[in-house]
């Protein structure tokens, strides 16, 4: 294992938040801290190489790789840092892997910190990928914490990708842009969980194209907007073949929070079966009452309901 530099305590805490890492992970990983690679490990089947122009990394997973994982967390604790990083994943045919990404920003300074991670996935035939991405912000400086992740997913025949996208706390502004293109028999499942508070805003945009017969997508977003925060959820599925697609935006608003949900469907084939659902509302009063009859205060009840909703 190549150890380039030590990471500090704040960065360790951020690593726990975004990647559940309490210690150096097993398997392949690349930890990026304050704009440079801090630690890296590769395995016989998973290679990680820096791009020649220094703009990011390529992660190459050999065909047939089973039950291996890749962690590529990013942590930033230096105020005023702005970066755009391109990470490309080449996932070999018939492999079965878990990829854990995520970004944690701690900004105690007065300048804005921004990380824009662009992830491109090339998922080989028959491959199965579980992708987990968590975003988190902390620090009490006046500088903002900005994250604008871009995700592109290109899925070959009969591949499967399950994506868990989580942003629960501390990110002042985010624009999440996710695109996916699916060939025959490919299957995409997305579970997004989003919570905004204070004066944050979040834009989450999905464009999924079902291009092959038998392809399917299930894109589900659950979100909570508190305080004066704003969210726009824009979920679009396009069916260009005999495919099935489902999108769902399910949101809770609290305080003066605002949400604009725009689920949309486009069918360019008579064989495309597409469904969308959207619901926005405050926490049901009877849910709070029920938990109060179990001895919880109103505030504790709200917390439990939100925690469950975003679980």
């Amino acid at each position: 294992m190549l150890q380039i530099k030590e990471i500090d305590e704040i960065q360790k805490r951020l690593l726990m938040e975004v990647a559940d890492l309490h210690k150096v992970p097993e398997g392949a990983f690349n930890i990026r801290a304050n704009g440079e690679s801090a630690m890296r490990n590769t395995t016989a089947n998973i290679d990680i190489v820096s791009k020649e122009n220094g703009s990011g990394i390529d992660i190459k997973i050999k065909p047939g790789t089973k039950n291996e994982s890749v962690h590529i967390p990013v942590v930033m604790s230096q105020s005023g840092l702005k970066e755009v990083v391109y990470n490309d994943f080449y996932i070999g045919e018939d492999s079965d892997v878990i990829i854990v990404a995520g970004c944690g920003i701690d900004n105690c300074g007065t300048q804005d910190s921004e990380h824009d991670g662009i992830h491109r996935f090339y998922v080989g035939k028959g491959a199965r990928v579980k992708y987990v991405e968590k975003h988190y912000g902390s620090g009490d400086g006046t500088g903002k914490r900005l994250l604008n992740p871009g995700t592109e997913v290109y899925m070959e025949e009969n591949s499967t990708m399950e994506m868990e996208m989580v942003q629960i706390k501390g990110v002042d502004s985010t624009k999440r842009d996710t695109k996916a293109e699916l060939k025959e028999g490919a299957r995409l499942v997305v579970h997004e969980r989003l919570m905004t508070h204070g004066t944050q805003d979040a834009y989450s945009i999905y464009n999924v194209s079902l291009n092959g017969d038998g392809s399917s997508a299930d894109v589900v977003s659950r979100s909570v907007a508190r305080d004066q925060s704003f969210q726009k959820l824009d979920l679009c599925v396009t069916g260009n073949a005999a495919c099935s697609g489902h999108t769902e935006c399910d949101s809770i608003i609290m305080d003066q929070g605002r949400i604009l949900a725009v689920p949309s469907l486009e069918a360019n084939s008579t064989e495309a079966a597409l469904v969308h659902e959207a619901a926005i509302g405050k926490i049901a009063g009877e849910q709070i009452t029920k938990l109060m009859t179990l001895g919880l205060t109103e505030a504790e009840a709200e917390e439990q309901i939100i925690n469950g909703f975003l679980k």
Binding site: R222, Q287, M292, T293, L294, G295, Q304, I305, G308
Partner: protein
């Protein structure tokens, strides 16, 4: 022991020409003694559910006092009454997205670390195969009967001085209810230093009562032991009148 002293409750309704006060409960005084299984019954719209909500603190009476073990709890809110020793099983159990049965039982028991095995005991008590349900979400995927059982399991997990059930038979099919009766029979047998108040129209629930209270048009129409009240209820005046109407025609 729960004491209701002169409880009245009314609502203001708009009727086109103005607002009118509608009386739901009128001067109800009732004592639920320890180790008693008390069934509240009576025609629909008579105020039974309102009374249950007033005891749980969900509704506030217009006048009257409520005492639990001699302590006045009239001004306490839902949380404070729950902590003081009152449990309430909803007529229509509430669904929660994302909250699992195990979470709900742990919240009810006030023990975040309660093991799944311990929580399962409460599910077994209400006749659910615990391993099939413990990790289920308490959401729309559960049937009315399953939700009712889970609702009862949560109040069992609380094990408080007084438990109030609001029409456990409502919203479930007859077959499911036949099985639920056994749960209440077991509860009746196990009463110890506590009491149960249950709103029901079911004869088999009335049959296991120590006391029966009939509430009609917001007032107590009858109150006594099962033997005093039940014979009069079977073949009620309303049933007889319905037959008479048919005969007249």
């Amino acid at each position: 022991m729960l004491e209701l002293q002169n409880i009245s409750f009314g609502v203001t309704e708009e009727n086109g020409t103005g607002s009118v006060n509608k009386e739901i409960l009128n001067d109800i005084s009732l004592t639920i003694r320890d180790n008693q299984f008390v069934v509240i019954t009576g025609p629909n719209g008579g105020g039974k559910s309102t009374l249950a909500k007033i005891i749980a603190g969900i509704e506030t009476p217009t006048s009257g006092r409520i005492l639990l073990d001699g302590v006045d709890i009239t001004d306490k809110n839902v949380t404070e009454r729950a902590k003081a020793g009152i449990s309430f099983a909803f007529q229509q159990p509430v669904r929660f997205k994302g909250i699992q049965v195990l979470d709900l039982i742990r919240l009810a028991a006030g023990n975040k670390r309660m093991s799944a095995a311990d929580a399962c005991k409460y599910l077994a008590e209400v006749g659910l195969c615990a391993k099939d349900y413990i990790n289920r979400e308490v959401n729309a995927s559960l049937s009315g009967g399953e939700l009712k059982r889970i609702e009862i399991a949560t109040v069992l997990a609380r094990s408080t001085r007084l438990t109030v059930f609001d029409e456990p038979e409502a919203g479930i099919d007859l077959w499911s209810f036949q099985n639920l009766i056994q749960v209440f029979e077991k509860m009746r047998a196990k009463i110890n230093d506590s009491s149960i108040m249950i709103i029901s129209h079911q004869e088999r629930i009335l049959e296991i009562a120590d006391e029966i209270v009939v509430i009609r048009e917001g007032s107590i129409a009858a109150h006594g032991t099962k033997d005093e009240i039940l014979p009069a209820l079977i073949g009620t005046p309303s049933a007889v009148e319905a037959c008479k109407v048919l005969t007249d025609k």
